[in-house]
């Protein structure tokens, strides 16, 4: 086929988007919704992941040291702790620090602390940060193996909740994506079928004058791809606007932010390019594929 012929078919496809704007718009909407839902699931998933990562950072193991250990031994323990694989940061917390903290945390027991006076019964200790939360149990048992350790405590509660949440979200997201894959294919199949249906006479006439299947199909292919491309762009714009306004909304909720940690919500600017590209590629691909599969099925008049 000559280049002029190819150009003619591509032009036809682009023109068809306009000529059949109604059906094109229907396909556009279907693709847009599908892309948005899948996109939202994926972005939500990444955010939860980022939160889990962020809260892992905050997650500490508290190490209390036997009060028999002297200054030198305490420093030694600090070095030993830092040497353990997976430990990212080790901070010393003197028993005075611990006492002050307690005073703030439990004002209703002020009396106890008052009665104790300067005779601080607490012990010195370390706060150990861990780079990967999954290694915590392993690290705890290693710390327990050291000498002069009085008590080791890790409060993983909230992280565990988040991890379970991630599992659930992963499953739900997979279910949503699978369901949407089916639904959007059905919908695209429908719109393509309908658009072929409205043009079935036209297609039949084309076949009577000797047009090959691929000659008839190419404009549909181009049409689907162009429509899908615009769906991608539309989905991107909506995602952008929605994400940013949700981001603003959330960052205003001080209480929620205290739990989640502001820095753990992904900034849209850092994923903008990937979102745009994924949407456009997915949109064009599904649009083109949908057209091809369903024209193949229905064009054989």
């Amino acid at each position: 086929m000559k280049l002029s012929g190819v150009k003619y078919l591509v032009d036809q496809g682009v023109e068809n988007v306009w000529k059949n704007k109604m059906m094109a718009f229907a396909t556009f909407c279907v693709l847009l919704i599908s892309l948005l839902l899948v996109g939202a699931s994926v972005i939500f998933y990444f955010n939860i992941n980022s939160m889990i990562g962020g809260i892992s950072d905050k997650n500490e193991i508290a190490v209390f040291i036997n009060d028999k250990a002297d200054k030198a031994r305490i420093t030694e323990i600090g070095q030993d702790l830092a040497k353990i694989k997976g430990v990212s940061e080790v901070t010393f917390e003197s028993k005075e620090d611990a006492f002050n903290k307690m005073l703030v945390q439990m004002p209703e027991y002020e009396k106890i602390f008052e009665s104790l006076g300067n005779d601080n019964p607490l012990v010195d200790g370390y706060r150990v940060k861990v780079s990967n939360i999954d290694e915590v149990p392993q690290i705890i048992s290693e710390i327990r193996g050291l000498n002069d350790i009085y008590y080791v405590k890790a409060s993983q509660e909230f992280v565990n909740v988040l991890k379970e949440l991630r599992r659930v979200v992963t499953m739900v997201a997979c279910a949503i994506i699978a369901a949407l894959a089916v639904v959007s294919m059905i919908m695209i199949s429908n719109t393509t079928k309908a658009s072929i249906f409205t043009r079935r006479e036209e297609i039949q006439i084309m076949k009577y004058v000797g047009a090959t299947n691929s000659f008839i199909r190419t404009p549909f292919f181009v049409e689907g791809m162009v429509t899908g491309f615009f769906s991608g762009i539309g989905a991107f714009i909506i995602t952008w606007a929605a994400y940013n306004s949700l981001f603003e909304l959330l960052t205003k909720q001080v209480n929620v932010m205290n739990v989640i940690g502001l820095g753990n919500i992904i900034q849209f600017s850092s994923i903008r390019v990937y979102v745009l590209l994924s949407y456009i590629i997915a949109g064009s691909f599904i649009g083109a594929l949908g057209s091809v599969i369903f024209t193949r099925k229905h064009i054989n008049v």
Binding site: M1, E202, M206, Y208, V209, A211, T212, F215
Partner: protein, 227 residues
């Protein structure tokens, strides 16, 4: 060359439209097909285009055995013929010019040739003024003439026309048949269904009469102008 051997067609609704028909039309022939309403004329035409398949019998057109033809051969086969349907079948989303040019685009004809050939055949049927009109904007007779122009444009070996003058006034009808006769003189085989007995009497030639799905008359008669 067109050949039907013991061909029958029964529609899925149970109607026997053609009944053991045998027919041979040689290259360069000009044949009129006549017969009453519902006799099976259009059915025969649809058969030759492979729009429908014969229930039994063998159909051969331009050297292709339509019963045994592979799917992907159909486009290549249809390019060897031109047709005029009883219901015109113009593409509603294309102008007159585009409708006719489309036939040439399909065979990937050079742009230059398309630009020269299409206006020429449009002028043959006297529709220069309607080049850029859509089918919806044409009168019945004008649509029919576009269909005729489309059948001529790619210089086919065989032209099959189903009542090409059904919506055209008598004077124009004569002109159109003259045109087809001219094309026939250059070697193109022509098969034309008509119910205008005046035309047949005037031009004469081979007359095939179908009645109730059977050929009841198939002879060459002299035209008035030749007589």
């Amino acid at each position: 060359m067109v050949e039907l051997k013991n061909v029958s067609v029964t529609y899925s609704s149970g109607v026997d439209a053609l009944n053991n028909v045998s027919l041979k039309i040689n290259d360069g022939d000009f044949a009129f097909v006549v017969g009453s309403s519902g006799a099976g004329k259009s059915t025969m035409i649809k058969l030759l285009l492979k729009e429908i398949n014969a229930t039994s019998g063998v159909v051969t057109v331009n050297g292709y055995n339509l019963n045994k033809m592979k799917r992907r051969q159909i486009p290549e086969f249809r390019r060897t013929l031109g047709f005029v349907f009883q219901d015109f079948r113009l593409i509603p989303s294309m102008t007159v010019y585009e409708n006719i040019a489309f036939v040439l685009r399909v065979i990937d004809a050079p742009k230059k040739y398309i630009r020269k050939r299409v206006p020429y055949v449009i002028s043959l049927v006297g529709l220069q003024a309607k080049s850029n009109s859509y089918p919806d904007e044409l009168s019945g007779g004008e649509k029919q003439r576009v269909a005729i122009a489309r059948a001529l444009v790619n210089d086919p070996k065989l032209i099959i026309a189903d009542e090409p003058t059904g919506n055209i006034d008598p004077e124009l009808s004569y002109e159109i048949v003259e045109l087809l006769k001219g094309i026939n003189d250059c070697g193109t085989t022509i098969l034309m269904v008509t119910h205008e007995h005046d035309l047949v009497r005037h031009f004469g030639g081979r007359i095939i009469n179908i009645t109730d799905g059977e050929i009841v008359f198939d002879e060459v008669i002299g035209g008035i102008n030749e007589a």
